[in-house]
């Protein structure tokens, strides 16, 4: 069933399908990143595919490879019951230039999952309506699920956020502060 599906995509996109395999029974195709969105649209609208659900979208970082990231999407057809994994490889060795088209206007589920992939890997989804960090806070530096991000890295302290149009004072003045809490581990050397 799914093998047929791979053939359907191959028939339509030809050489844009770079490779395919069916490891552990999961049909997989790797497509050229330029065709990412076209393939997605085709899978959704083609009557033989009818992939109406984008089940999962994530990325995997392979720092020793070029291109570095693999964006992985899992599609499911509720009517036909078949699944397909589509991957595309993007990004250079530094992790810059990792850009791919957003699927947010095709599936609602892509919105948050792409935000997560941006947050965790720094993959820029072109045309995404609202590409903000989702699990991390806005001031977070770096992208934590990259392999070169150390798991025990300490992030810099975030100053009070400046929020416009809000009548609210910070809980303490600049000189007050808490004698305990996060600030102390930075200044602990001076206090002793």
């Amino acid at each position: 069933m799914s093998q047929l599906l791979v053939d359907v995509v191959r028939e339509r996109f030809g050489s844009a399908v770079l490779e395919s395999h069916a490891q552990h029974g999961d049909e997989t195709i790797v497509v050229h990143p330029a065709n990412w969105k076209e393939v997605a649209r085709f899978l959704r609208d083609e009557p033989r595919a009818q992939m109406n659900m984008l089940v999962d979208l994530t990325a995997v970082d392979y720092p020793e490879r070029e291109p570095r990231f693999e964006v992985v999407a899992h599609y499911l057809s509720l009517q036909k019951g078949h699944r397909l994994r589509v991957k595309a490889r993007i990004g250079d060795a530094d992790g810059d230039d990792a850009e791919i088209d957003s699927l947010a206007d095709l599936w609602g589920s892509a919105n948050w999952m792409e935000r997560e992939a941006w947050d965790m890997f720094g993959i820029n989804f072109l045309g995404h309506p609202d590409l903000r960090r989702i699990l991390m806070y806005p001031e977070f530096e770096g992208h934590p699920l990259r392999r070169d991000y150390p798991a025990d890295k300490i992030q810099p302290l975030v100053p009070y956020r400046e929020v416009d149009n809000i009548e609210k004072l910070p809980p303490f003045g600049a000189e007050e502060g808490m004698s305990f809490g996060r600030q102390t581990h930075i200044q602990s050397g001076e206090e002793d």
């Binding site: 599936w107 589920s109 948050w112 999952m113 699990l135 991000y149 798991a151």
Partner: protein, 405 residues
């Protein structure tokens, strides 16, 4: 401090030029169980625009999974959906087993099913109970938590821990079922079904409860599918997709159960689908316990993945080495990738695993059903009144640990 007897008539009442008002609920708000922040733009009491922000419970599990062995992932998946950790345990174990090409034993499969359905009951009891409590009905909540405690007593008896069992193992379970498991499970399920009946008597004819749920938080089947919703929330919208029926795993193909489906996709349907699923889970448990063999191996006989008996570890060099290799180096999973999915309490729980052939996972992606369900909250509360946020949010059963990982 301002004097309490300030004369309000003197003060000029200033209305903002812009008729909308921004209201921030959460992240630590009693009605936002879990930690979610909801920024709402209000016009009067109507929500014009909403922005749901998650991530306050992010603990970096996917990163941490890349540092240990495959078996050391179990405690992390426990803490994803902490109301039904057994389902997560089984889901992850099955994903690794799919990669290794292992078929678990008959006894293990029935045992996993019975435990998993008990965990599903505890998940649904929590969700429906909390939902009722947030709408002012405290009694059903207490009754349902009493039922949940019965499930957790069984879990404690089996695994030693009430909440985070870490009971799954690649290739089987940590321990075989205890002697009184079947008896205890049957007794608990009977009592839970009585609780459900009593709760229904209290709630389903209550005018206030009905009015606050029916026609509130509507979502169409197309939207739910597009948003990647699975589980009870999707079924409430009328799409009969259940992984246990659509792609049967374990022994779900051999048991008899129905998939409850809603009609309208409102909060009421989500509530009712969950209640009905508890009854279906009870049916599955009953059949699983009938079929659960009294003896036989619980783990596969595969020295690559399963720890040897303690007697062998202490008395034979082969056993010692085998134990050492599995504990220190971890299970060697062949290089490759796999996506395995099971039906968890909130929908399709997927694991996308990448292995580089070493004893440590290269990438563990947990596909949390809650994350996608919560992404639809914005859509269902826009246009509703502010009081409707509470039942809408409650009916989605957002579990912070699973959503934010």
């Amino acid at each position: 401090m301002e004097p309490l007897d300030r004369d309000l008539d003197d003060a000029e009442l200033e209305l903002p030029a812009d008729p909308t008002m921004t209201l921030n609920v959460g992240p630590a708000h009693p009605a936002m169980h879990g930690t979610v922040r909801c920024m709402m733009e209000l016009s009067g009491e109507n929500i014009v625009k909403a922005d749901v922000q998650v991530g306050y419970l992010h603990r970096g599990f996917e990163k941490m999974c890349e540092r240990g062995t495959w078996n050391q992932v179990f405690p992390y998946v426990d803490r994803c959906n902490y109301v039904s950790p057994m389902l997560n345990n089984v889901g992850f174990a099955m994903a690794v087993e799919k990669m290794l090409g292992i078929e678990t034993t008959e006894r293990c499969q029935w045992y996993r099913m019975a435990l998993g359905e008990l965990a599903r009951i505890s998940d649904h009891l929590t969700c429906t109970g909390a939902m009722a409590m947030e709408l002012g009905a405290f009694t059903p909540f207490l009754w349902m938590i009493k039922g949940r405690e019965m499930v957790w007593d069984i879990m404690e008896e089996e695994s030693g821990a009430r909440l985070t069992h870490s009971f799954g193992r690649v290739g089987g379970m940590a321990k075989p079922p205890t002697e009184g498991f079947a008896e205890q499970a049957r007794a608990a399920v009977t009592q839970i079904l009585t609780i459900i009946d009593e709760v229904e008597n209290l709630l389903l004819t209550n005018r206030i409860f009905i009015d606050r749920l029916q026609g509130v938080g509507f979502i169409s089947a197309e939207d739910a599918v597009s948003l990647g919703w699975t589980g009870p929330c999707l079924r409430a919208s009328g799409v009969p997709y259940d992984v246990r029926k659509a792609h049967p795993y374990l022994k779900y193909g051999d048991v008899d159960f129905d998939v409850p489906v809603g009609e309208h996709g409102d909060c009421w349907d989500r509530f009712m689908v969950r209640l009905d699923e508890i009854r279906q889970s009870a049916r599955i448990i009953d059949q699983s316990l009938d079929q659960l063999p009294d003896d036989g191996p619980i783990n596969v006989e595969d020295p690559r993945v399963v720890l040897p008996e303690k007697e062998d570890v202490y008395n034979s060099i082969e056993g010692t080495i085998q134990h050492f290799k599995i504990v220190m180096e971890g299970i060697k999973v062949p290089a490759g990738e796999v996506y395995a999915y099971t039906e968890a309490g909130n929908g399709e729980l997927g694991f996308y695993l990448v292995s580089d052939g070493s004893g440590t996972p290269y990438r563990v992606r947990i596909r949390p059903p809650c994350f996608l369900v919560t992404s639809g909250l914005e859509r269902i509360i826009t246009g509703q009144m502010i009081a409707d946020v509470v039942p809408c949010f409650g009916s989605l059963n957002m579990i912070g640990g699973e959503c934010d990982r």
